[in-house]
Symmetry: C2
Subunit: 207 residues, 2 copies
């Protein structure tokens, strides 16, 4: 599993001349880094008496962020697995018409999974971005830069996941699926950009 | 060493109720992820005959990116070490005037190091952002999303490092040092934003 690899081993696999792991797993990992940092800010808030008024909201955010972190850690491996399934489908035999039809169908199914998975990552990263902004607002001011970094990571991870959705949509023939996913992409991007502007504004005030 | 830890162990340390590792190490790691992905795109370009015209530039970029990656991997640990030195300085005794003076001087020195280090990270991330944009321009179009993710990571990492510079500058008394660093921050941010706009524009064309 990628998530069990050492940082330097993961980076070595990422840079290697093999398409997986690639940008999709990197997106999930960057989102996980953001979630972990936002949790740290929450912990540095609930452990300080100075922020007693924020303890309730901070600990609620930490609970939700722990769930997002666990999902993103899983998606680091699942994205690479989804990509591997696409590569496998392309290697199916195509000698007869029957084989060609089966191959094409298998490729399309694998491609749909490989587009849906980063879509889930993008949605979770948008949520981590929102929670990082809340943490920056209410949390320990000594860790304001950490909350801002959490938001920047989540925002970059959201976009990274969206690029992976879009590049896979280019190979999908089911136009209803493509239209539905394209609508979801627009919704997530628009909402994330709103959240991002708020985060940057707060970061400029506090840092 | 943090860089020798497993991804899930690093994330667990990051989220813990201890201020280090924090946003500074996360910035260096995100920059390293960007550099590694840009190298992957380079490798997927030089290994394809279709991009023979780009082999020279791609392999030159890979060589430079390998250097940046090695530096960023080092900075994952060095940032946390610099922060630890600040924490240590604050714990020095302050019973006598002499002790107070020594403590204050040690804190200031440690703070300057803790501001200079993320400044170096920010500059390298700006360079990775630039090279990711070049790779997106000339590289294997099948890996266009990976080059775009590399650029997004480098951009978020640059900003994350800058937040760490700025939060440390707030505690530094030497106003010449603060003025010089503030000038450097503005230069790196302005140049990076130009590079980022170009990258996003190219990504929208290709993905």
């Amino acid at each position: 599993m990628l998530i069990d690899k050492k940082l330097n081993e993961f980076l070595a696999e990422l840079k290697s001349d093999s398409p997986a792991p690639g940008g999709g797993s990197a997106a999930a990992l960057a989102g996980a880094i953001g979630a972990a940092l936002a949790i740290m800010v929450g912990n540095l808030t609930t452990s300080s008496e100075k922020y007693v008024a924020a303890h309730g909201q901070a600990s609620q955010l930490v609970t939700e962020l722990e769930e997002k972190l666990a999902s993103l850690e899983r998606y680091v491996d699942e994205d690479t697995e989804a990509f591997t399934q696409v590569m496998k489908a392309y290697k199916l035999p195509k000698n007869t018409d029957e084989e060609k039809a089966l191959r094409s169908q298998t490729i399309q199914q694998a491609m749909q999974c490989a587009a849906q998975l980063p879509m889930k990552v993008a949605v979770i990263c948008m949520e981590v971005l929102q929670m990082s902004g809340e943490m920056l607002e209410i949390g320990n001011v000594n860790a304001a830069s950490d909350a801002a970094v959490a938001g920047r990571m989540a925002h970059a991870a959201m976009w990274s996941a969206i690029y992976n959705v879009k590049i896979n949509l280019g190979s999908i023939k089911d136009q209803n699926f493509v239209a539905e996913m394209t609508k979801q992409v627009a919704t997530v991007v628009d909402r994330s950009e709103e959240l991002f502007i708020q985060l940057v504004h707060k970061a400029n005030e506090k840092i």
